[in-house]
C-alpha cells in the first residue's frame, strides 16, 4: 500500500517535471557507483533520496549539477538549481551576510542591492543579529541555515540539499525540519533532499526514493500518503512506524 500510487502523484498535480534522470550509470576508477538510476521531480515537490553511506547519493546530485559527468543515461534539468553540499562550506573569512550574498557578488550584481536582498531574507532563517558575525562564532545549525540561504539566493526554485541536517542534534534537527517546510511553502520550492535518516525522509517528503548500497540502484519509490495536508501530523501517525519498518526492511 505504500508503493508509489499514481493517484497520489497526481495530487502534486499533473505538474511539470523540473528534473529527470534517465538510466544513469556512473563508475569511479572502474568501480561501479551508480547503476540504472531513473528519477524525477515535479515542480513544488519535496522528494527524498534515502540510502546507506556510499550508495552514491551525493554523486547523483553532483551529476545533476554538472559537477560530475554521468557515464551513461540522460539528465534533463528545467530550471536553475541551487546545490547545498553536505558540509556548510561557509567561507570563514567572510561575514554571514557576505557569505550569503557571495553568489550574487560573483554574478557581478550591485553589492548594495545584493546585501539588501540578503538582509531581507535573514529573518526567514532566524539569523537576525548575526549578519556581521563570522561563521566560526556560530553553531552548526546556524551555519547550516546560512548555507541554506546562500543556496536559496543562488538558485531559482529548485534546491538540492545534501544531508543538510546530518550534523545536528535531534532537537535542533526537528525545528530545522519544520522551518524547512515553512520555507518551502513560502518560496514555492522544489526540493530534493538527501538523508540517512528514515524518519526524516518520511516526515518531510511527498515521495521517497530508496537506494541500495553500492552500486546504488533505485530499490523502491514510495509515495508518502498520510499527513499530506499537514506534514507535522505525521509524527504521531501510526503509519509512520509501519512505513519506517517497510523502508528498514529494504535497506
Amino acid at each position: 500500500m505504500y508503493a508509489l500510487q499514481q493517484a497520489k502523484a497526481g495530487h502534486a498535480g499533473a505538474k511539470e517535471e523540473v528534473i529527470r534522470l534517465d538510466r544513469i550509470g556512473k563508475r569511479f576508477d572502474g568501480s561501479e557507483v551508480l547503476r540504472d538510476i531513473s528519477l524525477h521531480l515535479r515542480k513544488g515537490e519535496f522528494v527524498s533520496l534515502l540510502g546507506p553511506s556510499g550508495s552514491g547519493k551525493s554523486t547523483i546530485l553532483n551529476i545533476m549539477t554538472g559537477l560530475e559527468e554521468a557515464d551513461t543515461g540522460t539528465v534533463s534539468i528545467g530550471g536553475q538549481i541551487g546545490y547545498m553540499q553536505q558540509k556548510d562550506l561557509l567561507l570563514p573569512w567572510k561575514t554571514v551576510i557576505d557569505n550569503i550574498a557571495l553568489p550574487l557578488d560573483l554574478k557581478g550584481r550591485n553589492k548594495k542591492e545584493s546585501r539588501a536582498l540578503a538582509e531581507s531574507l535573514i529573518d526567514r532563517v532566524g539569523l537576525r543579529g548575526y549578519e556581521h558575525r563570522y561563521p566560526g562564532e556560530m553553531s552548526g545549525g546556524m551555519k547550516q541555515r546560512a548555507s541554506f540561504l546562500r543556496t536559496l539566493i543562488a538558485s531559482g526554485e529548485i534546491m538540492l540539499l545534501d544531508e543538510p541536517f546530518g550534523a545536528l542534534d535531534s532537537m535542533t534537527k526537528s525545528s530545522m525540519q519544520q522551518w524547512l517546510l515553512e520555507v518551502q511553502e513560502a518560496f514555492g520550492l522544489t526540493i530534493l533532499f538527501i538523508t540517512h535518516d528514515i524518519e526524516e525522509a518520511i516526515l518531510l517528503s511527498d515521495r521517497v526514493y530508496v537506494l541500495s548500497s553500492r552500486p546504488g540502484t533505485i530499490k523502491e519509490e514510495l509515495g508518502v500518503d498520510f499527513g499530506v495536508g499537514d506534514k507535522r501530523s505525521r509524527l504521531v501517525d501510526p503509519k509512520l512506524l509501519k512505513m519506517k519498518e517497510r523502508i528498514r526492511s529494504l535497506l
Binding site: N62, T65, L67, Y83, Q85, Q86, K87, L89, L91, P92, W93, K94, L102, P103, D105, L106, K107, Y134, G136, A154
Partner: protein, 250 residues
C-alpha cells in the same frame, strides 16, 4: 605563532632569558674574562650606547637591502605561486627544483655573486631573495593547494570563474599559511643580508661585525648581534600584528 598569545606567555621566556643573562654576567665578572674572549652583557650594552651612531649607520644599510630584498621576494613568490597554481605544468616542473635548490648552501655561492655583480647592493639583494623567496613561495603554493575540494565544487556550482575562485577562495585561504612563510622569511632576510655583507662590501652590519671582530672589539660585535636580535623580534611582532589584522576572523 611564536611570540604571540596572551601576555602571560611572555613571562616565562623573559624570566628564563633574564636568568641566563644574569648568569652570563656573573660568570664573566667573577672569572674576570677579558672582553676579547667574552664580553659581558653590560659590556655589550655599553658598547651599543657608545658606538650607537656607527651601528645605526650600518643598520640602515642592512635594513635597506633587507627590506628591498624582502619586498622583491614577496612579489616574486606571488608571481611564481600563482603561475604554479594556474598551470599544472609549471608546478610540476618547478616545485621539485625549488625544493632541491634549498639544499645549495647560500654561503658558498655568495662569493660568486659578488664576483659577478660587484660589492654593491645588488649581490646582497640577490642573496636575500634566494633565501627569502622560498619559504614565502612554498607557503603560498601549499595554501592555494590545500583548499578543500568541496569548496572548489561550491565555487563551480555557483559558476565562479578562475579569477573569482582565486580572489574569494584561494587567496584568503592561503593568507594563514602566507604569514608563517613571511615570519621565516623575515628572520632569514637579516641573516642573508649579513652573510652578503660579511663576505664583502662597504657598509652594513655584516661589515661592522667583520671589522669589530678583526679588532677584537667583541663587545661591539655583540652589540650589533643584540641589535639584529631585537630587530628580528620586532619584525616578527609586526608580522604577527598584521597577520591578526588580515586573518581577524580566526
Amino acid at each position: 605563532m611564536i611570540l604571540k598569545k596572551k601576555t602571560g606567555h611572555w613571562f616565562y621566556p623573559i624570566a628564563a632569558l633574564f636568568l641566563a643573562v644574569l648568569m652570563w654576567q656573573l660568570v664573566v665578572t667573577l672569572a674576570d674574562i677579558p672582553i676579547y674572549i667574552l664580553p659581558s652583557p653590560l659590556d655589550t650594552v655599553k658598547a651599543l650606547l657608545t658606538d650607537f651612531g656607527m651601528i645605526a649607520r650600518h643598520l640602515i644599510a642592512t635594513l635597506y637591502a633587507s627590506l628591498l630584498g624582502f619586498t622583491l621576494s614577496v612579489a616574486l613568490a606571488f608571481i611564481l605561486a600563482i603561475a604554479m597554481d594556474s598551470f599544472g605544468v609549471v608546478k610540476k616542473s618547478l616545485y621539485p627544483i625549488l625544493i632541491v635548490s634549498q639544499t645549495v648552501p647560500t654561503i658558498a655561492i655568495t662569493p660568486l655573486l659578488i664576483i659577478w655583480f660587484g660589492f654593491g647592493v645588488l649581490p646582497k639583494i640577490l642573496i636575500i631573495v634566494l633565501m627569502c623567496f622560498f619559504p614565502i613561495c612554498i607557503s603560498l603554493v601549499d595554501g592555494f593547494d590545500k583548499v578543500d575540494g568541496d569548496y572548489l565544487r561550491l565555487f563551480r556550482s555557483i559558476k565562479a570563474n578562475r579569477w573569482q575562485t582565486f580572489y574569494h577562495l584561494k587567496l584568503p585561504h592561503a593568507m594563514v599559511n602566507l604569514f608563517s612563510g613571511l615570519k621565516i622569511a623575515a628572520t632569514y632576510m637579516l641573516m642573508a643580508a649579513i652573510i652578503g655583507e660579511w663576505q664583502g662590501g662597504t657598509d652594513g652590519l655584516g661589515v661592522y661585525m667583520v671589522r669589530t671582530k678583526n679588532a677584537y672589539a667583541l663587545d661591539k660585535m655583540f652589540a650589533s648581534i643584540l641589535v639584529i636580535v631585537l630587530i628580528s623580534v620586532a619584525l616578527i611582532y609586526l608580522i604577527n600584528k598584521v597577520a591578526s589584522r588580515v586573518n581577524h576572523w580566526k
